[in-house]
């Protein structure tokens, strides 16, 4: 085999490395411009949680009125289409009250005026301790898109390859709608009632005090800016309710109530949480996630309308948590 000169070999290494890297990068950024799959896992579930998507919602809020939904995977299926109203679903800022605080405190006066209501889900078990680098919503968006996918990682590339596979074969159940909510190809049908109902029970063995503090700050910010904010809890199946660590949740919620946060306790909803057919829960996709239809129905009736049980003092909290403990 013919040897190259040393100088040529060095050039060849550097040029081909840069060229291949740029090619991979261009494919990645073309397939996944919003970095929906950037967070380091080929697991399908991760693509729902790209914080960068909130950049687009930040822009949307400049031009129209919306109600905002902040919550975890237990709120991600609530969509404008099924609610017949204008919503922006921020499940991409999943479990990070610090991120949400960062978002709303960067809104302009005009954007604040465009907010109808903020719906804030208190998913105590999902709040995380770690604080991620805050997004600057006034940065140039192109710069963010370019820089967020650098440096490339294997996980991101694998996720993008999977994304391509899903799109080319139209094989995914999951899509993200323009408003940020998660759509399923079988939208509304409780296909997943047969899914293992013990999955995804986060028992809440501890809670994040940073998160509680940030929620209190968000509440005060809304009061100061005359924004209607409604806090609510997720809804669980009886099975999940029996497994939760209610002492921890009680402490976290008491902390919030003591800081002036009122919320609707929807953990248990009669006719939803307790209905079983053949040992399965027909309103749930797993033990702690409502399916699309039920999630939208519960949201409309128990969060937007007044059917939810409002907790605004420690005594009410005590009674409601005790009733959950004995189920």
């Amino acid at each position: 085999m013919t040897s190259l000169s040393d100088k040529t070999a060095i050039r060849l290494i550097l040029y081909s490395f840069v060229l291949v890297y740029i090619c991979i990068y261009l494919v990645v950024i073309s397939v996944d411009p919003y970095q929906l799959r950037q967070q380091g896992s080929a697991d399908w579930a991760k693509y729902k949680y790209s914080r960068l998507y909130s950049r687009f919602q930040f822009e949307d809020l400049k031009y129209d009125d919306y109600s905002l939904i902040f919550g975890s995977s237990r709120s991600q299926k609530i969509s404008s289409r099924l609610q017949s109203d204008n919503y922006l679903n921020f499940h991409n800022l999943y479990s990070e009250p610090g991120d949400i605080k960062n978002f709303i405190t960067q809104l302009s006066v005009n954007q604040l005026q465009n907010i109808d209501v903020i719906y804030f889900e208190l998913d105590i078990a999902a709040f995380r301790e770690e604080v991620m680098k805050p997004i600057n919503y006034n940065n140039n968006m192109v710069t963010d898109i370019v820089s967020f996918s650098l440096p490339l990682t294997f996980d991101h590339i694998l996720s993008v390859a999977r994304e391509l596979y899903y799109n080319l074969l139209d094989a995914s159940y999951y899509k993200i709608s323009r408003d940020g909510s998660l759509l399923m190809s079988n939208d509304g049908a409780p296909t997943f009632i047969a899914e293992n109902p013990t999955r995804r029970i986060f028992k809440a063995n501890s809670y994040s005090r940073f998160a509680i503090n940030d929620i209190a700050v968000i509440n005060n910010f809304c009061i100061e800016n005359s924004i209607n904010i409604i806090f609510y809890t997720p809804t669980y199946s009886d099975k999940a309710i029996r497994e939760m660590n209610w002492d921890v949740i009680h402490s976290a919620l008491a902390d919030l109530v003591n800081r002036g946060v009122k919320f609707k306790n929807n953990y248990f909803i009669e006719g939803i949480s307790d209905i079983q057919t053949d040992s399965m829960y027909p309103h749930f996709s797993d033990a702690s996630h409502l399916n699309t239809l039920a999630a939208n129905q519960v949201f409309k009736n128990y969060v937007v309308n007044d059917d939810g049980l409002l907790i605004d003092n420690i005594d009410k909290l005590e009674i409601s948590i005790n009733s959950l403990k004995i189920r």
């Binding site: 490395f17 440096p151 990682t153 294997f154």
Partner: protein, 471 residues
């Protein structure tokens, strides 16, 4: 700053390299040395700038003492006193930062005292730069060093490719290279070889060692509940992790130094191919072995005073070698095991016994594998448990898969692939130094370098430090 980080590969290294050779091209040689010194100190301070005064004071002190020792006009007695003072000062520095709490803990335990621990942070690389400078003092005393200015000496100690974890270099092998006029010019051959061996090292670290680390860490974290299979997976994973991690680091160091036309000494020579424990220590961390031989074993008398004394010297040398790796009894036990096995090997040889090569390899490899368990385990209880499971002392083999590894058990297939690849690469194949010697820039090799670089850089999603940074 780590070699396996984006800020090092994409910013620090290119800037250091281009400015250095720009200065040498303009014939600003002193400025290029100052630049190399400043960038090396910046590299060192990246972790914690509080360490900087320690290394600076150490360099100034040793330079002054070394200069005096190298003065041929000084009389013998004064020089001996000065050498003792210099060496003891270095040992005192190391002892204070590395062993003070260990001594206090043991004193408290033995004498029932309640002396407060100092809780000192171990300054990065202190074991390496202290040994390197002790060697410099002894070489100066033996008039094996030529006098150089402080700038040259500071670059020799702080040269960033070898500063953190070696190889441990001698003044006499580095200074002539820094002074050589030819090395002030860009050398494409060295750059190519440097990129080649740096890529091999980066690949070893990121793709191989860090994957073995997952299994080794899980296993040792759950040491008390390992089954037979899990215990072997754990110990072998650590054995390969340590080799690929440290030899990967060394390859990167050698590659980086080559970019600056500096040749660092070889530190590994396929150690897991060894057919005896003596052979192993000629192939593993060769520059540490060289240091221990030249500055501990031989001054103790080496093999010049009969059998028993030789065995004692060997054991003492390796006890010190064990302690050098860390202030803990597990390291002492590890050093003792190696010292005793070297003594036994000498006795074995002197009696004229020989093993078949395959049998010698199995015995040696397994001995090394077992002793790494002591090296890695948090305490004696964990080490005992891992070894009991490995050798069925706890009961018969159970086939419960790899349940202790919890969520990563879906990767059993990858584990097997990695273990097989690790074994293949480290045992029968040529090592990176042999590959370097025979390297010719053909198209397939260039393609392999590019692929290796891409694989390693894409795998850099999480930075992980090198194991030898702790020593």
């Amino acid at each position: 700053m780590l070699f396996n980080s984006f800020e090092f590969i994409l910013l620090f290294l290119p800037i250091t390299f281009f400015v250095y050779f720009y200065l040498t091209k303009k014939k600003l040689i002193s400025a290029s040395r100052v630049w190399l010194l400043l960038t090396s100190l910046f590299f060192y301070s990246w972790w914690n700038v509080a360490y900087l005064p320690i290394i600076l004071c150490s360099m100034v002190f040793n330079y002054l003492v070394g200069t005096q020792l190298g003065d041929v006009d000084k009389n013998g007695l004064n020089k001996k006193l000065l050498l003792s003072f210099g060496v003891l000062s270095n040992i005192a520095l190391l002892a204070y930062y590395k062993y003070a709490d260990f001594l206090i803990d043991n004193l408290n335990y033995v004498a029932g005292l309640q002396v407060q621990s100092l809780d000192l942070l171990l300054p990065l690389a202190i074991s390496f730069f202290t040994f390197q400078q002790i060697a410099y003092l002894v070489d100066s005393y033996r008039l094996k060093t030529r006098q150089h200015d402080f700038l040259g000496y500071a670059v020799f100690v702080s040269f960033f490719p070898q500063l953190i974890a070696g190889p441990i270099v001698h003044h006499s092998e580095m200074m002539p290279q820094f002074s050589d006029q030819k090395n002030n010019f860009v050398n494409h051959r060295n750059i190519l070889l440097g990129i080649y061996i740096f890529t091999i090292g980066l690949f070893k670290k990121v793709v191989v060692a860090d994957n073995f680390a997952i299994w080794a860490n899980h296993g040792f974290d759950a040491a008390q509940s390992l089954t037979f299979v899990e215990a072997w997976v754990t110990s072998l994973s650590y054995t390969f992790q340590l080799y690929y991690d440290f030899s990967g680091y060394t390859d990167m160091a050698i590659g980086l130094a080559l970019l600056f036309n500096i040749k660092l000494p070889q530190n590994f020579n396929s150690p897991y191919q060894s057919l005896s424990i003596q052979d192993f220590w000629r192939r593993w961390h060769m520059t540490l072995s060289r240091f221990l031989k030249d500055y501990v074993y031989i001054p103790l008398g080496g093999n010049r005073n009969g059998g028993l004394r030789t065995y004692g010297n060997l054991i003492a040398t390796f006890l010190l070698g064990g302690l050098w790796h860390g202030a803990g009894w597990m390291f002492v036990i590890w050093g003792l095991l190696h010292g005793v096995s070297l003594a036994l090997h000498r006795i074995w040889n002197s009696l004229g016994f020989r093993l078949y090569k395959w049998a010698a390899w199995i015995v040696t490899f397994n001995f090394i594998n077992v002793t790494w368990v002591f090296f890695r385990a948090e305490n004696m209880s964990d080490a005992n448990k891992v070894l009991s499971s490995m050798f069925l002392i706890d009961g018969p083999i159970t086939f419960s898969g790899l349940s202790t590894f919890g969520n990563i058990d879906t990767m059993q297939f990858y584990l097997i692939i990695i273990l097989v690849l690790g074994t293949i690469f480290s045992i029968p194949l040529r090592n990176s130094n042999q590959l370097l010697i025979k390297f010719e820039p053909t198209t397939p090799k260039i393609t392999m370098i590019v692929a290796g670089l891409l694989a390693a850089l894409l795998g850099l999603s999480q930075e992980s430090t090198f194991l030898y940074f702790n020593f």
